[in-house]
Each structure stands twice: as structure tokens, then as C-alpha cells.
């Protein structure tokens, strides 16, 4: 193999190696989506997006109809602003509601769309008005504990009242037992 041939092959090898490094590095950043379907963008505001990630699926009736394109924070309304990309094949009424759901108990979070009944459909750039935030497990647990503590308190109060009524009788009996 001539000098030129070796140089070209080594250059090719170094190029492939660099491409591999770039591929590995880019995977940690946000790549453009690989799909080539045409989509339209719609935004939705949530009080709490929970664990929603970029490129999370957007599902309706369980079928994936789009992806989450961008998640940002609206500093004026202090809400999370999520931009969805929905496949142009699927049209949703303007009063569609968006909920953040979890696949499985502890799985990834995704956006579920529930269609409304309006005649007009969502177009590019529209805002989904009715949204429901993600369920945050810690809030749920603290709510549960708080309500448990409340019912525990009222149960204690009613139990101590009935105990007070019952107490004189055991007292009368106790000295006899001793």
C-alpha cells in the first residue's frame, strides 16, 4: 500500500473515532427527534410537571400521538410551560384537556390528552386551557398522614369520653379485686 493509501485509511479511522465520540457526547444533549412525521405545536401550562422529561410521549386513549418538545418555566404565572408536538394526522378539539400521568406505578411520566367536544380543532400555536398537574408522591403521603392524624385525634377524643364514663365502674371494682 502506498504512502497516500495509508494516510487516507488512517484519516478514515480517526474520522470514525471522532464521529463515535461526537455521537456519545451528543446523546447526552438533546438530539432532534429522529422521526420525520409532520407535527404541529401546542402549549400547555401546568402547576407542577412532576417528573416529565423531554421527548416524553403524548398519548390519547393510550396511543402515542406526539412528543414533548420543550419544557420551560413561565416567570410571570410561575407555571411550567410544556410545548407538545402532535402528529398532523390527529386533530383535537380546542377544549381538550391535558393530564400528566405515570405509566405503571413508578414508571416514566407522559402527557395524556382527553378530547373535548368542541367543533373547532387545535391549530399550531394554540394553548390547551384545561390541564391537570402531576401527582407528587410526597404531597400525597403527607396528605394521607395528616388525615390519618386528624381521624386519630377525633377517635382518641371520643374514646376518652367513653372511657371517662366507664372509669368509675372499674375503680369501684378494683379495690374489691385487690
Amino acid at each position: 500500500m502506498g504512502r497516500k493509501g495509508i494516510e487516507i485509511l488512517v484519516g478514515l479511522f480517526v474520522l470514525v473515532g471522532m464521529l463515535a465520540v461526537v455521537f456519545l457526547a451528543l446523546k447526552s444533549a438533546n438530539l432532534a427527534s429522529f422521526s420525520s412525521d409532520k407535527t404541529y405545536e401546542v402549549t400547555a401550562r401546568f402547576d407542577n410537571i412532576g417528573g416529565l422529561k423531554m421527548r416524553a410521549p403524548v398519548r390519547s386513549a393510550g396511543v402515542t400521538v406526539g412528543r414533548v418538545k420543550r419544557i420551560s418555566f413561565d416567570n410571570k404565572t410561575f407555571q411550567g410551560l410544556v410545548t407538545l408536538e402532535i402528529d398532523t394526522r390527529y386533530e383535537f378539539p380546542v377544549d381538550t384537556s391535558a393530564k400528566i400521568l405515570t405509566s405503571g406505578l413508578l414508571g416514566d411520566q407522559y402527557i395524556g390528552l382527553e378530547p373535548g367536544g368542541d367543533d373547532k380543532n387545535l391549530a399550531e400555536g394554540d394553548v390547551i386551557k384545561s390541564t391537570q398537574s402531576a401527582v407528587v408522591l410526597e404531597n400525597l403521603i403527607s396528605q394521607f398522614l395528616f388525615s390519618k392524624a386528624e381521624t386519630g385525634d377525633t377517635a382518641d377524643k371520643s374514646a376518652s369520653k367513653s372511657d371517662a364514663k366507664a372509669d368509675p365502674k372499674p375503680d369501684a371494682k378494683a379495690p374489691a379485686h385487690k
Partner: protein
């Protein structure tokens, strides 16, 4: 053997090992000193990259693909017990980029390129080419050793990156078309969990260190081999053993340094 003889033999062996350690260190510094000379004659380095890197490409890529397949399969079986199969992409990527990429590539590199280097230099020594070079006032360390050293240091990180990238693609091939995991979850979990500097960067640093270690061991064993066919064969075996142990030992130290939580 009597106790005093055992003690004496231990003492001799210790002194011999100390001497060997010293020779290793002197050789390492010597090769480093001649690296600028090798860089000036870059064509020599390019030829060596061809011999070391290009020729290792096929085995590294094939092994990477196979390891990616197996990682995806085994990962799926275990993750499905916890209902966490969406994390398969993350599992495959982190395993490859942090550990398997640098380490397995280094082991394969030691086996393929390391033995080639040792055999080549050992045969040069056995055929008295190195002595002839010295007679002609051509320093074999800057013409023969340093270019191979530089070529090894350049090739290893590239090969490790190729291994990891091909492995991730292999994991995708098994995970998405064959098993049926959601491709969005595969890539998004990976992108969310793999950090460019902490994971990919540390992996590249590791492969760089392994490249230095393996190439150094290969060159040393070749240069210090007995100038006979058996000597060359023994040196080749020693290269694989010592280089592999060095890689695994260094891997533990580097992992502890890089990935320990403070």
C-alpha cells in the same frame, strides 16, 4: 531450605523486583523524552496508527456490537422484574461509556495490538536491527519506540469510543426493533442520565490512561525480551498478562477516584 536461605531468597527476589520496577520507570521516561522527536517525523506515527488502530478496528467494532446485544438482553431480563424496562437505554449507555468501553477495548487492544508490538520489537531485537540502528547513530527509541507509543495513545481513546458507540447501537437494535421497548423512552432516559463530562469524559480519560499503560507494557516487554524466538514468545505472553492486570488495577483506582461520592 533452611530459614536463612528462605530469607536470602526473599531478599534476592525483592531486590530483583525493585530493579525491574526501576527499569520500567527509566524506560518510561526514556520513551517520553523521545516523543517530540517522533512527533516531528509524524509520518512514522501515521504508519503506526494504521498498524495499531486500523487493524484493530474490526475486532473492536464486532466485539462492541456483540457486547451491546448481550447487555440489552441481560438488562431487559433483569429490569423487567422491577417493571423498569424503559431504563434499558440508560443501562446500556452507562455500562458501556463508564466501564465496558474503556476496559474491554483495552483488554482486546492488549491482545491484538499489544502482542503485535511486542513481537515486532522483540524480533527486531532478535534480528539485531536495533543494534544496527544504534551503530548507524540512529536512535531506535525515537524511530521505533516513540512513534508506536504516540500511535497507541492516539488509537486507544478512538477505539474505546467506537466500541461504546457501536455497543449502544447494538443495544438499540436488540431493545427497540427486537424486544419492542419504546424508542423515545430508550433515548430520552439515556440522554437524561448520561452526563457528557462525568460519564463520557471520564470514560475517555480512562481509555487514554489504559492506552498509555498497554502500549508502555507492550514496548517494554518487546525491548527487554530475550533475543531468541522463545524469548519473543514469552515476552508476548507477558505483555498480555501484565497489560491486562495493569488495566484492571488502574480501572479500579480510576473508578474510585472518578465516581466516588464525596
Amino acid at each position: 531450605m533452611s530459614p536463612s536461605e528462605t530469607l536470602a531468597s526473599i531478599g534476592r527476589r525483592t531486590i530483583r523486583n525493585l530493579g525491574s520496577l526501576g527499569r520500567h520507570a527509566v524506560f518510561f521516561v526514556d520513551v517520553l523524552r523521545h516523543v517530540p522527536g517522533a512527533l516531528r517525523r509524524f509520518y512514522l506515527v501515521v504508519t503506526q496508527i494504521y498498524a495499531i488502530g486500523n487493524d484493530s478496528f474490526v475486532i473492536i467494532a464486532a466485539s462492541g456490537l456483540a457486547v451491546g446485544f448481550v447487555l440489552a438482553l441481560q438488562g431487559y431480563y433483569t429490569l423487567s422484574r422491577y417493571g423498569a424496562t424503559e431504563s434499558l437505554g440508560l443501562l446500556v449507555a452507562l455500562s458501556l461509556v463508564r466501564e465496558l468501553g474503556p476496559v474491554v477495548t483495552a483488554l482486546l487492544f492488549a491482545g491484538r495490538a499489544g502482542t503485535a508490538l511486542t513481537a515486532e520489537i522483540g524480533l527486531m531485537k532478535a534480528g539485531e536491527q536495533l543494534a544496527a540502528m544504534e551503530l548507524m547513530a540512529v536512535d531506535p527509541r525515537s524511530r521505533v519506540l516513540a512513534p508506536r507509543f504516540v500511535a497507541g495513545i492516539i488509537s486507544m481513546p478512538l477505539l474505546a469510543a467506537i466500541f461504546s458507540a457501536v455497543g449502544i447501537i447494538g443495544g438499540w437494535v436488540v431493545g427497540v426493533p427486537l424486544i419492542g421497548i419504546d424508542p423515545g423512552a430508550f433515548w430520552s432516559q439515556m440522554q437524561g442520565g448520561v452526563d457528557v463530562w462525568k460519564d463520557v469524559g471520564n470514560g475517555i480519560v480512562k481509555s487514554f490512561v489504559f492506552g498509555i499503560a498497554v502500549t508502555f507494557v507492550a514496548l517494554y516487554e518487546g525491548y527487554e525480551s530475550n533475543a531468541t524466538p522463545e524469548g519473543v514468545a514469552q515476552a508476548t505472553t507477558r505483555t498480555v498478562v501484565v497489560a491486562s492486570l495493569a488495566v484492571l488495577g488502574l480501572d479500579f483506582v480510576l473508578t474510585a477516584l472518578m465516581f466516588s461520592t464525596p
